[in-house]
């Protein structure tokens, strides 16, 4: 009876120690992440305005580039196969979709595997 109680006590103690250990590691990890984030923030010149502007310009250029790429590919295919304007319309539409996809990708997920993309995806 007494031995069982002692065993339980020891178990609980070990569990508590493990828990503390884990939460300590978690805290350390969080602090490290925060420090890294702060460093990233500090290392970008111009701060918030510049970051927002570069994100805006990035979205714009990604979208436009998708449309241009689709249009040019379609136009070239038309020129080769003499099917104007079939491919221009079809691939141009696909290119617009690709532009939207580019923008969606910027908005939807952080670009980096680790800390969540230094310049985007913080909103």
């Amino acid at each position: 009876m007494n031995g069982e109680n002692g065993k339980r006590d020891a178990d609980e103690k070990a569990l508590k120690a493990r828990l503390e250990n884990l939460s300590g590691a978690l805290d350390a990890r969080r602090r490290q992440d925060e420090a890294q984030k702060a460093q990233e923030k500090a290392s970008i010149p111009g701060g918030e305005t510049g970051k927002a502007m570069s994100l805006g310009f990035r979205v714009l250029s990604e979208f436009v580039a998708g449309v241009i790429a689709g249009g040019v590919i379609g136009w070239l295919l038309d020129k080769w196969f003499d099917t104007s304007p079939l491919f221009l319309l079809v691939v141009g539409a696909l290119g617009t979709a690709a532009g939207f996809m580019n923008v969606y990708r910027i908005a939807a997920k952080p670009t980096s595997p680790g800390s969540g993309g230094p310049e985007i995806g913080k909103q």
Binding site: E40, G66, G70
Partner: protein, 253 residues
């Protein structure tokens, strides 16, 4: 803008002039003012990096700390974006970053030529990046690399369309990479020149001359803004290079 001499022409600064005409097998390979400034840029980068790191003192002087900060900044960017495997490409990313940032900042000095305001230059840089991505991706992963274009967990009816869209999206990468840098630099420099033109026009307009202080103030603000854009665009170019290289190193997600 057609009148010669005193005309205000905001596009004139982007003209490429031949300094030493060279022709190799009918290809025009002349040494232009653009090439001259590229050489100057390389000289500045080499000076900062080689001369700055020569002493290797524990307490760095100004040039050494500039070189060290540039190294640490790019190394952190590469590590956080492309992972530790990405450090293989650190020399490429660092060279691109230094070239672009020095070209952008040097272009803000009056009477200089802004190399990065030429789409031929920025597209060549972007093509280099995408070429590296494709060659390294296929070299490292073989045909598996093409899984990059096949999104997972999509119904088979939609799959062909999505693959096509992914391919176009990949093709659009060098375009967006080059257009963003080129357009930012071009637009900024034209804006500065147009505002400077307002100053000249107002000064020459008799009673309106006192108003010319307004565009001057605007130019002061715009120059600071352009400095921000110049640095930021170099940073964005470097970070997107890392993002694209990440696709070559770890495809398929």
């Amino acid at each position: 803008m057609a009148t010669p001499g005193n005309a205000i022409d905001p596009i004139h600064q982007f003209e490429v002039n031949k300094i030493v005409p060279i022709k190799i097998f009918g290809v025009d390979a002349s040494f232009t003012n653009s090439s001259l400034f590229m050489v100057i840029i390389l000289g500045i980068v080499a000076l900062v990096m080689v001369y700055g790191t020569r002493k290797r003192s524990v307490v760095p002087d100004r040039l050494q700390s500039a070189a060290e900060m540039a190294y640490e900044f790019v190394a952190n960017t590469v590590r956080s974006t492309a992972g530790d495997h990405g450090m293989k490409f650190f020399p490429l990313v660092f060279s691109l970053f230094m070239f672009v940032i020095v070209a952008n900042v040097l272009g803000l000095v009056p009477y200089t030529f802004t190399v990065t305001s030429q789409i031929a230059v920025t597209f060549a840089l972007a093509a280099l990046v995408i070429g590296t991505v494709i060659v390294y991706g296929i070299y490292k992963h073989g045909l598996h690399w093409f899984k990059l274009f096949v999104p997972s967990g999509v119904s088979p009816i939609l799959l062909p369309f999505l693959v096509l869209i992914e391919v176009i999206s990949f093709v659009s990468r060098p375009i967006s990479l080059s257009i963003r840098l080129f357009a930012n630099m071009l637009a900024g420099h034209i804006t500065l020149k147009v505002f400077a033109g307002f100053v000249v026009m107002l000064v020459g307009a008799g009673a309106w001359a006192p108003l010319s202080i307004l565009p001057v103030a605007a130019i002061v603000g715009l120059t600071a803004f352009e400095l921000l854009v110049a640095v930021l665009q170099a940073y964005v170019f470097a970070i997107l290079t890392c993002v694209y290289l990440n696709d070559a190193i770890h495809p398929g997600h």
